[in-house]
Amino acid sequence: MWVPEAGRARGAWIERGRDVLAVDVQNLTRRYARTRRTPEVLALDDVSLQITAGEVHGLLGPNGAGKTTLVKVISTVLLPSSGVVRVLGHDVVQEARAVRELVGVVFGGERGLYTRVSARRNLYFWGALYGLRHREMESRCLALLDRVGLAGHADVPVETFSRGMKQRLHLARGLVHEPRVLFLDEPTSGMDPAAALEFRTLIRELTNEGRSVLLATHDMAEAEALCSNVTLIDGGKVLLSDRTATAAGMLGVRECVDFELADEDLVQLLRKQPFVASVEPSAGEGGVDGRWRALPVAPEALRELLGWLVERDVLSARRAEPSLSEVYLRLVGARGLRI
């Protein structure tokens, strides 16, 4: 039994007469076996993660961190090597079929659609696999295509779609059976900014309907805007799992200082000060025009840091809060293009 609103307590669904989490991952390990060409890879190493009802949970991490592997294990596409994974109380190995009825999956990229047939036909096909009847499917598919902005292209072959349009269709496909838990892997890749904003509204609507969402993304702004909780993984290990609002606490400070300074020597000098934890180019600006962000070693060092800057006539200095991007960069490290 699913009790959508009234029966929900402490972020859990009542399923089979007991409270259950939307997703409960415990000590999950997934190895990719050695082949003639590749060594054994430990893709997920003792990962634990919980997602409650109506929660959007961000899954962050660099390429190759294990995000997609985690999504695939939870959605029954891959078998775990060890550990326990439950979706709404159903074990993904022992009760895989029950899990598949409850979850929707949207993998990123352009693959996964039948490009020679229309958007409507794609949705009809996937809907039928979930046992939707024709009449129900007709109205639901049209409503979904309308919801993702493709109603005017319902009968156009998908091969003529732009990447962003295909991504929207992927989202509609993932929602066709009205899943209670939705796994989204890079769902806005290829979408223009306006569509990406609209996507955020859609996700909020879905959570208002009581659905839970696991959102794997590289887009920190998206994660900050949508996710109530985030988990950062790298090398198959969980580095951080916390509420988004307090994730910056991982850096040991709640505030930092943004400032503009063209003199690189002075920046180097600031880095050597005992009250400074780090000085990095401002996120998104690259520091090319002299914008920087400094983190104090402790909250009480903030005043000292500001004073040091004012003494050197850096009047642009202002207090700010560390962003999720900074947490990400600090924990994952500056690895450039390395995987």
Binding site: T69, E101, R111
Partner: protein, 258 residues
């Protein structure tokens, strides 16, 4: 009802794909040419007894060729297209969807029988009598079903291979010969006939010839039972093999690899 819905989903999708790329039914263009070859041999030799076989042969060849073609390419295309992984996340039976898709092309390829009959009628002035129309319909239905069942098994067996087209090419002519498609089994060496009897097409070919030619068709029940039974065995094997292969794909993380 759910299995029928999954079967229907495969049929409707394949029908839409054929509308989008009719070249999938190219065999319908080549079938009349094969008919012309077989009929010219039969007519020039005065072997009127072989005319019915010359009409049936290209139809059966087209049916097997198109079923084999989609069986060989289906799952590799799904893997390469990123759809197999999505499929694994659904509660549907892959065997049923594959069967539906193959069934759609098999039924469409039935047109080759009509083409052959018309080539005989208007190209060679030979009318092949349809003595038992009801039995012909049953025979065509069983042939389409068993071809689809067998091709579904092959699609499962081919999924892990990277040399699909080698198998596809290797399995066409041997089946034509052993299935009694080109010449009746009575024309093959005696030691080959037991091997031929394992191939469903040999029973289906007999049934079709009986339905067209025989004044009093013999052993119809046996032909129907064996034609359908061998196909059903292939389908059952396919369901088991597909389950095993999907488990392996989930275990080895190879569903997404092209």
């Amino acid at each position: 009802m759910r299995p029928l819905a999954e079967l229907g989903a495969g049929i409707r999708l394949q029908a839409a794909l054929i509308r989008g790329a009719p070249a999938q039914l190219l065999v319908l263009v080549t079938a009349p040419l094969f008919s012309a070859i077989f009929l010219s041999l039969a007519v020039s030799e005065g072997a009127t007894a072989r005319v019915a076989a010359a009409v049936i042969g290209p139809g059966l060849m087209s049916l097997w060729l198109i079923a084999l073609s989609i069986a060989a390419t289906f799952l590799s295309e799904e893997r390469f297209g990123g759809r197999l992984e999505l499929f694994l996340s659904t509660p549907a039976s892959l065997s049923l969807v594959v069967l539906g898709r193959i069934l759609a092309v098999s039924v469409a390829s039935m047109l080759a029988f009509a083409e052959s009959w018309l080539v005989a009628r208007y190209g060679f002035g030979v009318v092949v009598p349809v003595r038992h129309p009801g039995l012909v319909v049953i025979a065509l239905l069983i042939t389409a079903l068993s071809s689809s069942f067998t091709a579904t098994l092959l699609s499962s067996a081919f999924v892990l291979s990277r040399i699909l087209h080698v198998y596809q090419n290797s399995l066409s002519y041997p089946v034509y010969i052993l299935g009694g498609v080109v010449v009746p089994l009575s024309g093959l060496p005696g030691w080959l006939q037991p091997v031929s009897r394992v191939i469903y097409l040999s029973w289906c070919a007999d049934l079709l010839r009986n339905a067209l030619e025989a004044v009093r068709p013999q052993d119809v029940g046996l032909d129907i039972g064996m034609g359908l039974g061998l196909g059903a065995l292939a389908l059952a094997a396919s369901v088991l093999l597909t389950r095993h292969i999907l488990d392996a794909l989930r275990r080895n993380a190879t569903a997404g690899m092209a």
